[in-house]
Amino acid sequence: MSVAQQVQSNPAIFISGNEAVALAARDAGCRVASAYPGTPSTEILEFIAAYPDLYTEWSINEKVSLEVAIGASLAGSRALCAMKHVGMNVASDALMTQTLIGAVGGLVIAIADDVGLSSSQNEQDSRYWGRFAHLPVLEPSDSQDAYDMTRFAFGLSEQYAVPVILRLTTRICHVKGLVTLSIPQVKEGRKFTKDPSRLVMVPGNARQRIPLMLERDKTLATFSESCSLNVIEQGSTRQVGFITSGAAYCHVREAFPDAPLIKLGMSHPAPIEMIREFADSVEKLVVIEEVEPLLETELKAAGIQLHGKEAIPRMGELTPAVITPAVARLLGKENTIAAVGVTEVFPRPPTMCVACPHLGIYYCLSHVKNTIIAGDIGCYTLGAGHPWNALDTCISMGASLSVAQGIDKGRSEEDANKNVLAVIGDSTFLHMGMQGLLDITYNKGNVTILLLDNRAVGMTGGQNAPSSGLNIHGDATVKIDFRKLCEALGVRSERIHEVNPYELPTLFKALRDEVKVKEPSVIITNQPCVLTERYAKQPPLTVDTDKCTGCSNCLDVGCPAILVARRETVIKPNGKEKVLSFVNIDSAACTGCNLCINTCAPDAIVPVISTARIDTVELK
């Protein structure tokens, strides 16, 4: 068979879990999808946005995003809202009431847990929200499951008028596998039906809805017992059986190919009776779940004897390499996986991009003494690392301003003379930071705010936001004016400065002036993230090696294109040793932002063209 024929005879496509969710939403006739970008969930909306028949939006934050999806569902359309685990903390206010109202058009909430913390401020287990909000939780274990279960979720949601949580994890979102699609459905929107006793959650009405919600719990529990997503795989041994779900299922199945197990596609409400029966059929029962011992606790409370987190790690990803030795210990057996040595190699922490507009800011901040700097969530959190070490806190999205206000108000005598700064990105500011600024102005705080407007959600790949003036499709829309916005939030116009972050002297001056002022000030930077199309490259630079004195000032900029070519130890006149670092610039990577030029006293950093001339001279 030729390669082309093979492709035709095999309709399966090779896609990530995120893409599978997106395709499933489209094929289920979903009409509205919303999200705020966040790893590992970002791509779900990016993929959906490519389907022209669906309304998609980058919302301002996850609460808004969920509320948009809720509205669409109440209007009778199928709707999907995607977020990362920490996003649900933001959206939870809406979630806890929506559960009383329920869904009209199928409402699916995809929550992606960053298990193993590839880029998050904490690790959370979103299955808790199912228990907390009385909602069913579906847990796909690979791309095919992600596709099938997302479609199933829309149906389930409509059948029981209940929002459904689709719990994804990193190893579902970002794993590519083969997926066979099923026949697409078209779902028209339905008419909005007024029903205040159901839709208006004033206490009297809400009180009526709670018993209905509890009744729904029971119905769903019964449904779970026979739900086609909960599968028993018999296996050929009886010594140990497993209860598992999500990505953990794949790892368990691989590590113990012959063991009987229950794969819970619908893990909440759990099919307790099904599990009880299964428990009797095996000698030892082990629950393997990623992160928290949720099922373990539920099953133990139901009187089922089993093992769980006393053997299986409670944090990080589960893989065959983690599960196998843990279960071996439980069974009193030798570990079957040989220990693998570790090679000691330098760390390679992520750095800001070459020419990132934040480099200049952190260069300045690392040179300003006597400061306390509250940071926030975004690329600029990397300012906490080498070479700047210029952040003192980072808690949650939008927290920099309110934390800085707290530091200002709560400071001790000893810190009386310190400058309190808050650093926040444009998208983060719009997401949750504005309220903090209002608090600062309203309560007369003394905080200098650096609003790093790079016109994008840089961290997740440069997605659009109201600061870019473009929507999810790249179409022009409202572009927010940060100066006016800050003024509206109570900052005096004299205290608002817009600066080009590549102009170090201007930046320094603005900083030095504003920290002295005893009222809120905002310094807004105005150059785009280099990952976006808005960034324009300039001719690259190089180092004139004859002029470089090895002072290494330019290295403090932290641009990854500047490298040390050679080190030399010299004895200073005072007898002390000093290490000189002579640099060069990786001109193929340099985009000519000219930032480093400002830091080079001997003018050794020059356009590439002039070295070419030097080279020719030497050649002659």
Partner: protein
């Protein structure tokens, strides 16, 4: 258990590690296998460590390669090869681009770049194939061709047919013009040639 081939692709954010893994996956699909592919990369765009796991066979369950079980490693940078070499099995082929790239923490002197990584790699029970793919790419006219050079290099060491691998690679450049196609084809062939005549 059914035979599964485990391929580990390692390098630095921005080098095209994930693209290379994707192309190997596509080739395996074309050869009729079940495939899973995943990357382990925190903030990959920003110069951090990137590893991608490709597993193919009749039925693949877990996407993760158990440490010590990789059958082949494709390393885009020598220090990264050293970082991950313990994840391959004895006798595995380890294909290394010997073109080093030190991160800022090394170039400013906080950490040292490993001394002679090739020698350290050679101390492991592996089949080391080590050549300067970066230089070959630069000579062909574009350092981004390193990806195609490396893929050419593993072609001879893979259970997949070399033709299928090349098809999967070149299909990426179908719409990029004849010149790009020819360049990547040449890079693939140059890599294949280099891997058979290693400069150890």
């Amino acid at each position: 258990m059914e035979q599964i081939t485990n391929i580990l692709v390692v390098g630095i954010g921005g080098q095209g590690v994930m693209t290379a893994a994707d192309i190997i996956s596509q080739a395996a699909i074309l050869d009729g296998y079940d495939v899973k592919k995943t990357e382990v990369a925190g903030m990959a765009q920003r110069g951090g460590v990137v590893t991608s796991h490709v597993r193919f066979g009749n039925k693949v369950l877990s996407p993760s390669i158990t440490p010590g079980h990789a059958d082949l490693m494709l390393a885009f940078e020598p220090a990264e090869a050293l970082r991950w070499v313990t994840h391959v099995r004895n006798g595995a082929t380890v294909m290394v681009n010997s073109y080093p790239q030190a991160p800022p923490v090394v170039s400013v002197g906080l950490f040292d770049y490993p001394e002679n990584p090739e020698q350290q790699l050679a101390d492991h029970p592996i089949n080391l194939v080590n050549f300067d793919a970066g230089n070959i790419a630069i000579h062909l006219g574009d350092r981004r061709l390193v990806n195609s050079v490396m893929l050419g290099a593993i072609a001879a060491h893979l259970t997949l047919s070399s033709e299928v691998l090349k098809t999967a690679l070149l299909s990426r450049f179908k719409n990029k013009g004849a010149e790009m196609l020819a360049l990547n084809d040449a890079a693939f062939e140059a890599g294949k040639h280099a891997s058979l005549t290693p400069t150890q």
